[in-house]
Amino acid sequence: MLTKKQLFTRGMLDISPHMLSVIPFGIICGAIGVELGFHPYLVYAMSFIIFGGASQIVFLQLLSAGATSLVAVASVGIINSRHLLYGAVLSEYLEKLSFIKKLLISYVVVDQGFAESNKFFKKNRNEEFLHYHLIGTGCTMWVCWQIATLSGIVLGSFVPEELGLKFAIPLTFIAIVVQDLKKLDHVIVMITCGLSSLLFFDAPFKSYIIISPIIALFVAALLLRLKK
């Protein structure tokens, strides 16, 4: 049985390699916000209040392009709706927590944290304080995201644009799913999602980000039925 501290540390260690892509991306997000002409405090407030990577950039880009606040808010909601799926997966492991603890832990659920904690949970179902792993991944992400966006806001885009560091984001997610390429059913689900995301890329409110997972999960359900 691992202690709370060991689980928290394990979570920190499991997510830290992703900071290689998260930190440059955070710096870019902060710098873009200021370049688009928004007050630095507002750009930073987003990292604290929304705490959601790409959705923060989309929000500011929409507003600066003249979209209404309603459209910008709706887009953030749709982009981040994928967290509903993460929550559905994680709920199994967080069931025993009190309602208040569930409310608090929810704030730090992020893509990479979900991915790494979910992998850990699957292998260590019987640990008593499993949620400390999720707190570890989430808090590491939170601290790095705040520092990275703040640096981008204060120092401007000191990461040279020619480096194309935004490309590190797809790479980080490749690192997350690459081992599942061993399983044919997962490969089919991934390709379905990927192709759908390209097909629906121009759908309103960036909704491709939730449309394509729904299509892919539907295909997964069909595959499960075929397997039987």
Partner: protein
């Protein structure tokens, strides 16, 4: 004004994170749904990966000889065999930089 919008966007985002964790009990989901949920990472992350590779900053499809495709393939191969996140990201970035700064320069 903008701050109000940020607060609403934040509340909405928080609800996407909290709803399934705090308001839904696991018993409400049947075994079939649980089995499908096993596929969530494979069903969600390619929607971030594919556009990040195949669509450029202006929302247009890239050419088939774009360095990003090569970088992604290198990352997949290195990631598959090394099982190491840092190696995967670095290999993808370095091979991408090699193409844009050395080969195509």
């Amino acid at each position: 004004m903008t701050l109000t919008a940020i607060i609403f966007a934040g509340i909405l985002t928080y609800f996407t994170r909290m709803t399934m964790i705090a308001l839904i009990s696991r018993d409400m989901l049947g075994d079939k749904i649980k089995a499908v949920l096993e596929y969530v990472p494979s069903a969600v992350f390619p929607a971030i990966i594919f556009p990040g590779i195949f669509i450029n900053d202006f929302g247009a499809f890239i050419e088939m000889n774009d360095p990003k495709i090569f970088g992604a393939l290198v990352a997949i191969i290195v990631g598959y065999f090394s099982k190491n996140i840092i190696a995967t990201i670095s290999a993808g970035l370095v091979s991408y930089w090699f193409l844009i700064f050395v080969v195509f320069n």
